[in-house]
């Protein structure tokens, strides 16, 4: 019987009804301390430390702080030190602050070659869906589930439904993967993918780089999806080959991975088609990622109380042209858009230009390695010369658990994934955009249609 890629991976890992074996467990400081406490309380160990890896990202200051003990904020310091202690006690490898492999958990997994096709991957973080870009089944979990996976290397899951979103046509100049996923969430709504493992398919997706694919899968959770996946192909194999975690018998592994893509004729519970050629650069106007319009558009008339409230919070009135919205801050970073490819795209826009005097802009590489790579290419100089603040790796202003936050009332163009109220700082107003759009907005001080820039 014809099977979807999701079915193949699920079936290969289900060892009892709804009990899924986990090939890789990524751990960070925020959602794990109570899980380790739970293990100690019950006298349980970590079943497979060799399938587990940890990093510090959410709490990490991006000012170059070199060790956990040097973090100024006491609560953040305790949380990162607790992670370090827990990993030592249970024998889990960790790339903490100061390590040259440290970074956002969803950046370092693929970067180290830990993320591979056909695997099951979990992390106590909703953006775990990122790893599905490699043809893996990757799901975000809560702390009780983190504890469950630590203790058993398995996860109890209800089998989700399947959805395929097929993109056709060539993306227009200046239109990116970020715009593809924002437009899709805008169409389906923030609950549109709930209960589904989503496969992104079609010719447009095949033409995307791994970084672009990760951006799309990353934001699956913003549509409510359980997992986002993209079938592995030559682009995927090329990414994994030669990385530290890549299989020793690489060719044999690739032969297996070639069996993963969805069989012809396999049925999905839901099918969605998107004409990618018709997409424009997108900008969110509200307080969830589904509240989004084309950059050439205007703030819409509110159609519900939720939308009215969103407009009040964002201090926007219906009919206001998106391109007239002036900004105070620009943030380029986060697990959605902080990889070397993202930084190259932004740097190409910025090169030879200056950040508007009316705003402050920052670039936060997703990992220490991305930072080093960018500096080797001179991207840091491009950003600095333009007036950007060039930071060290971490989650930074995506969620404001570290010193990088918006002040009340500040308006920010952000390459991150959530424009929820207060997400980037209490009273802060977030507009989600692609790295190119964020870079151009930093130069102009307001949103611009990147397509008009050659």
């Amino acid at each position: 019987m014809a099977r979807t890629m999701f079915d193949k991976i699920w079936d290969a890992h289900e060892l009892g009804e709804g009990l899924i074996y986990i090939d890789l467990h990524l751990v960070h400081e925020v959602t794990s301390p109570q899980a380790f406490d739970g293990l100690r309380l019950e006298g349980r160990g970590v079943r497979r430390p060799d399938k587990t890896v940890a990093t510090a990202d959410h709490n990490v200051p991006t000012d170059g702080t070199a060790a956990a003990r040097l973090i100024v904020d006491q609560l953040s310091r305790v949380q990162v030190e607790t992670l370090e202690r827990n990993c030592e006690e249970f024998g889990i490898p960790i790339y903490s602050i100061g390590s040259d492999q440290q970074g956002i958990v969803h950046v370092i997994g693929p970067e180290l070659g830990l993320t591979q096709p056909g695997m099951t991957i979990v992390c106590g973080d909703s953006h775990t869906s990122t790893h599905g870009a490699f043809g893996a089944l990757a799901v975000g979990i809560g702390t009780s589930e983190v504890e469950h996976v630590l203790a058993t290397q398995c996860l109890v899951q209800r089998r989700p439904k399947t959805m395929r979103i097929s993109y056709s046509g060539e993306l227009g100049h200046g239109v990116t993967a970020k715009d593809m996923i924002l437009a899709t969430i805008g169409r389906l709504g923030t609950g549109g993918m709930v209960g589904h493992a989503v496969e992104y398919a079609g010719g447009t997706v095949r033409g995307l780089t791994m970084e672009n694919r990760m951006t799309i899968c990353n934001m699956t959770i913003e549509g409510g999806g359980r997992a986002g996946m993209i079938a592995p192909d030559e682009t995927t194999f090329e990414w994994v080959e030669g990385r530290p975690g890549a299989p020793a018998e690489f060719d044999a592994a690739v032969d297996e991975w070639r069996e993963l893509p969805t069989d012809e004729g396999a049925a999905f519970d839901t099918e969605v088609e998107v004409d990618a050629a018709a997409l424009s650069p997108m900008v969110t106007w509200g307080t969830n990622p589904g509240q989004v319009v084309e950059v050439t558009g205007a703030v819409p008339e509110p159609a519900s109380e939720t939308e009215e409230r969103a407009l009040r919070y964002m201090d926007l009135e219906p009919g206001r042209a998106i391109r007239e919205i002036e900004l105070d801050r620009v943030f380029i970073g986060s697990c959605t858009n902080s990889r070397i490819g993202d930084l190259r795209e932004a740097a190409a826009v910025v090169e030879g230009r200056k950040v508007a005097s009316t705003l402050s802009a920052m670039v936060v590489p997703g990992s220490a390695k991305v930072k080093a790579e960018a500096e080797a290419e001179g991207l840091d100089e491009v950003f600095r010369a333009a007036g950007f603040d060039w930071r060290s790796a971490g989650c930074s202003m995506c969620l404001g658990m570290n010193p990088d936050t918006l002040s009340p009332g500040e308006r920010c163009a952000s390459t991150s994934n959530r424009n929820f109220e207060g997400r980037q700082g209490k009273g802060g107003r977030t507009h989600l955009v692609s790295p190119k759009m964020a870079a151009a907005a930093a130069i102009e001080g307001r949103f611009v249609d990147i397509r008009e820039w050659s």
């Binding site: 830990l114 979990i141 469950h148 203790a151």
Partner: protein
């Protein structure tokens, strides 16, 4: 976790759709390494800014797609610590729903109109065994719940304990090569 049987009493109503976990428990409270004491930070900004008022009743009725966004289990911890034992909504975000079930906070799905009726009644009685919600305005309405999950909630069973009862199955899966995919993180 505590077994769930009958949950009865006054109802709080949060009449908003797409409430995300960043609102339920803002990020600054995720820095704590303990599992308890999150109740006082529930809806921290919304309550302090006078946006909403919320009584710590046994039952919360919420809007569609409740608990979307971040996977933070701190959100259900805060709701439970505040006093809620059950949340009724037209739909929940997946991770939030799963997180609730792990701590014995009953997430329960009813039609939008039924949710509204329960909220208007001001009080309700939930019977997990019968799978019913009873309130003045809604009458007795039935809800669906996964059988396995119902059993676990009704008996307050710990997921890990259940899985480890059949640890032989995991051993066998690993021995048969099922666990050979992926890197060895300890030898990078």
């Amino acid at each position: 976790m505590e077994p769930v049987e009958v949950i009865e009493g006054p109802v709080s109503f949060l009449d908003r759709a797409d409430v995300d976990t960043d609102q339920i428990i803002p990020k600054q409270f995720l820095k704590r390494v303990e599992r308890s004491g999150f109740g006082e930070f529930l809806f921290y900004d919304w309550i302090r800014d006078g946006e909403i008022e919320l009584e710590p009743n046994p039952i919360l009725v919420a809007g569609r797609n409740f608990g979307c966004g971040s996977s933070r289990e701190h959100a259900p911890w805060a709701l439970q610590d505040f006093g809620f034992e059950a949340i009724i909504a037209p739909s929940f975000a997946d991770i939030f729903y799963a997180n609730c079930t792990k701590i014995g906070l009953l997430p329960l799905i009813l039609e939008q109109a039924e949710c509204r009726a329960v909220a208007e009644s001001g009080a309700a009685r939930i019977d997990l065994d019968d799978q019913t919600v009873d309130s003045a305005a809604s009458g007795v309405v039935r809800f669906e719940i996964d059988e396995e999950l119902k059993h676990r909630l009704a008996h307050g069973l710990d997921d890990i304990g259940i899985t480890l009862r059949d640890v032989a199955a995991i051993d066998a899966f690993e021995a048969a090569g099922g666990a050979d995919r992926g890197p060895v993180t300890t030898s990078l």
